[in-house]
């Protein structure tokens, strides 16, 4: 696990762009950390790198929002989910996000630890922590056998 310091929002966007470079169709990325930690800001960076045109905002009220992507990496859709308001695990299971992404998509899931057992061992996790000076530390946990090659702890 390596961590990356993000002092300004733009740093967190850049971290999202950096992660996007290692992502492949079928990947699930779980974003964990307190309210206002920067999970949605991070998602805008991932989305920008994958060629999402529309504005990426918090999907809190829709649970999951699909964004069409334009890239040459075989990722046609980015599913951006936020489980903060989920009341029961049935709601999460019913989304079947792990299956939706299998062919040509990926999922970014804020508060994704709430469905932890549904994702299986093969997912990415970015853990956000905030220090007293509002500086974000982003710890990256890669799926087994997918250690990113350099560059995260920038």
């Amino acid at each position: 696990m390596s961590t990356r310091r993000c002092v300004r929002p733009a740093d967190t966007v850049a971290a999202g762009r950096a992660l996007a470079a290692w992502l492949a169709p079928g990947d699930v990325v779980v974003l964990t950390g307190p309210l206002g930690a920067g999970k949605t800001v991070f998602a805008t960076g991932v989305a920008a790198a994958l060629g999402v045109r529309e504005r990426v905002t918090s999907p809190t009220f829709t649970l999951v929002r699909p964004h069409a992507c334009a890239n040459d990496r075989g990722i046609a859709t980015l599913y951006h989910a936020d489980l903060y308001r989920v009341e029961s695990l049935d709601e999460v299971a019913d989304l079947a996000l792990g299956e939706l992404v299998e062919e040509s998509a990926l999922a970014l899931i804020e508060w994704g630890e709430r469905g932890a057992a549904l994702w299986g061992p093969e997912h990415w996790e970015v853990r956000f922590t905030l220090d007293d000076d509002e500086v974000r530390e982003l710890a990256l946990v890669a799926p087994p056998g997918r250690a990113p090659v350099g560059g995260w702890a920038a």
Partner: protein, 221 residues
């Protein structure tokens, strides 16, 4: 007459059976359950020939397996049962695979394995002899943990679509045999379901048990 519905893998299949004969048909291999299931059932009925109202029992595989497929299979089975008054019976993908292994002459310890996706299997242990006896409940396991936990003296047979995807991993168990079967057989499901009491059916998503506990222990800010 019995109608069998199979949607636990990326394949979609269906079958018909009465006391004299049975047929089954692969409708699609590639996750087109929504599109092919109902027309496929209509096609089977036309070929038999029979009418939907001749169906007195519907046997549906309710998992574990591909959740997006099972939702279609279970919803269709329920709707048809509701519309026709047919009895509804569920069988699990794992018991169908174990029964298929028995039909192919396998005996002794068997682990039915369904591809759980995301690096995991849905698994259940069986002892095959005069009958197919379940030794535990369906559960989620990583292939490596299944291999590490395989300590029995008698050589084990892994059966199911999981035994195709993870054949390489499972072969690490000394003496193990992998019997890869890409989707559970509707004919086998109908034979199992013919002798069972009707009951309400919901998709079996074995990850939920673990996950519910996890959910309950998490406090919200």
């Amino acid at each position: 007459m019995i109608l069998g519905i199979e949607t636990a893998t990326t394949a979609c299949a269906a079958g018909l059976a009465d006391s004299e004969r049975s047929v089954e048909s692969l409708l699609a291999r590639d996750r087109r359950h929504v599109e092919v299931l109902v027309p496929g059932i209509q096609g089977l009925l036309a070929a038999w020939p029979a009418m939907l109202r001749d169906v007195t029992r519907i046997v549906v595989d309710y998992g574990p397996g591909l959740f997006t497929g099972l939702r279609v299979g279970v919803a269709t089975a329920r709707a048809l049962a509701e519309a026709t008054g047919a009895e509804l019976v569920g069988v699990t993908s794992l018991e169908v695979y174990a029964t298929q292994a028995a039909a192919r002459g396998v005996s002794g310890p068997v682990v039915a394995v369904v591809d759980g996706r995301r690096g995991e299997l849905f698994a259940q242990r069986f002892a095959l002899g005069d009958a197919v006896v379940a030794l535990d409940a369906p559960h989620v396991v990583r292939p490596g943990d299944l291999v590490a936990g395989a300590t029995g003296a008698a050589p084990v047979t892994f059966v199911g679509d999981g035994a195709i995807r993870y054949a390489g991993d499972l072969a690490a168990v000394p003496g193990a045999t992998c019997l890869g079967i890409a989707w559970p057989s509707p004919e086998t499901a109908m034979a199992l379901g013919a002798r069972r009491d009707p009951a309400p059916v919901h998709p079996l998503y074995v990850r939920e048990a673990d996950a519910v506990a996890n959910f309950a222990t998490r406090s919200r800010p």
